[in-house]
Amino acid sequence: MKKITLFLMIALVVFSTTVGAITAEEIIQRRDDNEFIKSARVESTMIINNSGRELEKKMVSLIEGNNALAEFTNPMDRGTKFLKRDDNLWMFFPDAEDIVKLSGHMLERGMMGSDFSYKDMMESEKLTELYNFELVGEEEYNGRPCYKIEATKVEGAEVSYYKRIAWIDKERFIGLREELYAESGRLLKEIVVTRTEEIQGRWYPMESIMENKLRENTSTTFIINSIEFNPEIPEGTFSLESLQ
């Protein structure tokens, strides 16, 4: 389950993890084949719109398996780095001497002011254990025929969203839309892929918008500016030392 999208590429994370049983499983398998990569170097932009205020963040991420290292490149956040290693998340700030490990409540905060919390990203790994998947139908979305898959939280699992509904392109096997629900059944967030691209024979969601359904004028747009597969990643990139 090594996916390109493990880290920071929020939209991809969510789509890539809608895994299902029997028919749903096949769909997921196909999509995984499609989105699965060993390693990548990604340049991306995040546009955060919070109650009318717009912020743009740019970052470069190196991803390899369960590990990822990301560095912000926009002027305001330049030098801030994240390191994810399995289930742990560290941050480095140019103004601080120590590396900060994020834990507990810190993980529940919106990442850099976006609508996605650090926790949302961290739970991506074990979605198959955390959710029961079911193929609930086939629908056309944005002119593309899709499988509609519903995922419900496994009892006792520690996840943010009780239920998710995902629309996965029947031919290209990429997620095009996903809805995230609270336990009460209330729609909290919606992610819509607005641009897809074929890269090295595979289709990828290159631009997506995540909207907070409980607040007005609040959304996060995630854009992949460039993606390079199997880049050269130096030894020790995903070590704490490399953070400094």
Binding site: S51, H105, E108, K119, K153, G156, A157, E158, V159, S160, Y161, Y162, A182, E183, S184, R186, L188, L214, R215, E216
Partner: protein, 412 residues
């Protein structure tokens, strides 16, 4: 014995002088008692606000919960066990308890959200400990169902009015988002900014269901007959918990309101200074009266000396007289003060006129302030009156008694 009789005879013979001196003592004591009562009343006003709205007299929760209580965690909750609760109630000897479940959430009006403290309560039981309901400005307290009550400040901020639907967003213990859509049944205007601006009250079972925590609660809260018993009872409870190896702990109101208490302690010292001034002034009055009456009685002293009374004996007569005056004064003072304090503590003093016109900022402190009292103060001031009177008489009496009898008689 003769001297004592003489002293008593003097008291009755010079009724007016006796009365005048006793009057100063009485007034001093009266004013002392009334002032003390007012200041105690003022302190209680502050304390009671906190006790009646937020802390209660005693709380029981898990020790780990106490350490992290500011975070409103979902861990270390109390698994309500009727047997234990009954045992606790037996120790405390009360039925005035309630349980609450607190959690952090954000309130949402469809446009924006605001972080709040959500508090699950059982309104029927809650009444036995808190007087929240008295501060409902509009609408009613819910009894059950999908209902909430919030403070006026929060309602204004979010633009809610009674009957509107509010959404609460929060995470369950597992970190899963959940929401509650509930109707706003009442708006509070409590004399407590935190309640007005940050609290959302909802039925306990609704909170428990939405958080998937069965019948767990954050803590038990108790009202005692007397807040002064809080420490003793919490100690008793803790012995009980420790003996059973329970992780529960009892916390008395002093532990629950440390910040407030720090302020009150400072206030106490200031009140003492104030009372001291009253005592000094009254003492000056007494001494002064005694000196003047000693002056007036130089002739008499001369006579007594001429009759062969020793200085010691003359002083003794004066001291007994003063003790008598002190006693009369103290009795009247305490009676008068008692009546005053009784009236203040029963009927209260209206202070609403002061706060009127300022209510836009949302704090009706209370309509009235009620005098408080402590029996110790009465006992103290009663004896103090007598002692001061005696002490005040010694020096003038000695001075008068040492004078040459002839000079004393012809003093005028």
């Amino acid at each position: 014995m003769f001297l004592t009789k003489l002293a008593i005879k003097n008291l009755t013979r010079h009724k007016r002088r006796t009365i005048i001196t006793a009057l100063v003592i009485s007034f001093g004591i009266f004013i002392f008692l009334v002032s003390d009562s007012l200041m105690v009343g003022m302190r209680d006003l502050t304390l009671n606000n906190s006790i009646n709205l937020q802390t209660g007299h005693l709380q029981v929760m898990n020790e780990e919960y106490w350490n992290e209580k500011e975070e409103l965690p979902m861990d270390n909750l109390i698994d309500q066990n009727p047997v234990i609760l009954e045992q606790i109630n037996n120790i405390i000897n009360t039925d005035n308890y309630t349980s609450r479940l607190q959690f952090s959430a954000s309130i949402n009006n469809g446009r924006e959200e605001f972080p709040i403290n959500a508090i699950g309560i059982n309104p029927e039981r809650d009444k036995k400990v808190f007087n929240l309901e008295e501060y409902i400005l509009e609408g009613d307290m819910f009894t059950e169902g999908q209902n909430v009550v919030i403070g006026k400040g929060l309602a204004n901020l979010m633009g809610f009015s009674v009957g509107d639907y509010v959404t609460l967003l929060f995470r369950t213990k597992e970190g899963t988002f959940n929401t509650i859509d509930a109707q706003l049944t009442g708006i509070l205007d409590a004399p407590h900014p935190e309640i007005n601006e940050f609290h959302v009250y909802l039925p306990l079972d609704l909170a428990q269901d939405s958080l998937n925590i069965g019948n767990k609660v954050s803590k038990y809260l108790f009202r005692l007959d007397n807040r002064d018993n809080s420490i003793e009872i919490s100690n008793k409870l803790n012995t009980f918990f420790n003996d059973r190896g329970s992780s529960l702990q009892a916390y008395n109101w002093e532990q629950l309101s440390q910040e407030l208490l720090a302020m009150i302690q400072q206030g106490n010292i200031e009140n003492l200074v104030m009372l001291l001034i009253i005592i000094i002034l009254a003492t000056v009055g007494v001494i002064n009266t005694v000196i003047l009456s000693a002056l007036e009685r130089l002739e008499e002293i001369g006579m007594m000396k001429a009759l062969g009374l020793k200085v010691r004996e003359i002083v003794y007569v004066f001291v007994i007289e003063s003790a008598g005056i002190g006693f009369i004064g103290s009795v009247f003072g305490v009676l008068l003060g008692g009546i005053g304090v009784y009236l203040m503590s029963t009927f209260g003093i209206s202070i609403s006129t002061m706060t009127e016109g300022q209510t836009t900022f949302g704090i009706p402190i209370a309509d009235k302030i009620y005098g408080g009292w402590e029996i110790n103060t009465f006992i103290f001031i009663f004896f103090f009156g007598i002692i001061i009177s005696i002490l005040a008489s010694i020096l003038p009496a000695m001075w008068g008694a040492k004078k040459d009898p002839v000079k004393a008689i012809y003093h005028k």
